[in-house]
Subunit: 134 residues, 2 copies
DNA sequence: TGCCAGACGTTATAGCGTAACACAACGGCC
DNA sequence: GGCCGTTGTGTTACGCTATAACGTCTGGCA
């Protein structure tokens, strides 16, 4: 377990994401940290950049938002991480997608494509919102 | 084959995307169509909205850009479409990902999640750029 | 012919992200 | 301890992405 030491800004941003129940945009994070002295978007983006590199945080491309990684970090070697985003309540579930990862890896191998980053995001209705008839 | 009739603006935007070799941002489309009388982003976004709904165009969430659909449109019923985006040359390959689609569908079924839209995007190096040692 | 849904044009504004600059804090190394 | 490179910070300013809100126009159809 590597326990990297985070700087104050990085820690604050990470805490904000962990405390949130849904993904946060960079500007929402900024607003929540104004009380801690944050003033400019760059302070947030720089912290996020590091947290993303460390794998502590994920970026949701389809909604321009960020979430704390929900897994204790087994270094997600072979199986990619995917996200299910509820369009109604905004809740996000992070899950491993080994079968999908394998399928994409096969295609990439055949096409000579070398993937550096893979994005898999489902938008739809979570069980609760679906049941609520939304 | 449905052959929906497009309006002038929709046709211009679609043509611009088909003529382009790489994905275009909405603002790039706007600039290319200024000669045709386009003046505001909304003219582009409204046309894109319709084209996306018709399935003639895809949106690449990870780079905020748009491409014309490269398949003649077999209504991609069961197998989702995925994209491989070269970080060096910007080229995009669209491909079907039946295995990945099946894996995600299984997870969704188990989790009670009803997907409305699925995004699968690989960023990396295409065969040519990879060979060029980039 | 008259209606009306859909498309269009325009202005303004909100939200997302980065460039460029200067300075401070930390850590290794002699 | 003093040097020095790396990393993080703070600030200003700016560019790109996307939508709100308004009114007008057009074309298909009863």
């Amino acid at each position: 377990m590597s326990e990297v030491k985070l700087t104050r800004n990085q820690g604050l941003v990470f805490d904000a994401l962990q405390a949130a129940e849904a993904p946060l945009s960079a500007y929402t994070i900024l607003d929540r940290l104004r009380g801690e002295g944050f003033r400019a978007p760059l302070q947030v983006y720089r912290a996020l950049e590091k947290l993303l590199a460390l794998g502590l945080v994920h970026r949701l491309e389809s909604i321009n938002a960020f979430v704390a990684c929900s897994h204790p970090h087994h270094d997600h070697g072979e199986s990619l991480v995917a996200f299910a985003i509820c369009q109604t309540c905004g809740d996000v579930r992070e899950f491993a997608a080994p079968a999908a990862a394998a399928g994409l890896r096969d295609w990439a191998a055949g096409a000579g494509f070398k993937p550096a980053k893979t994005t898999i995001e489902l938008s739809g209705l979570c069980r609760a919102c679906s049941a609520a008839g939304a």
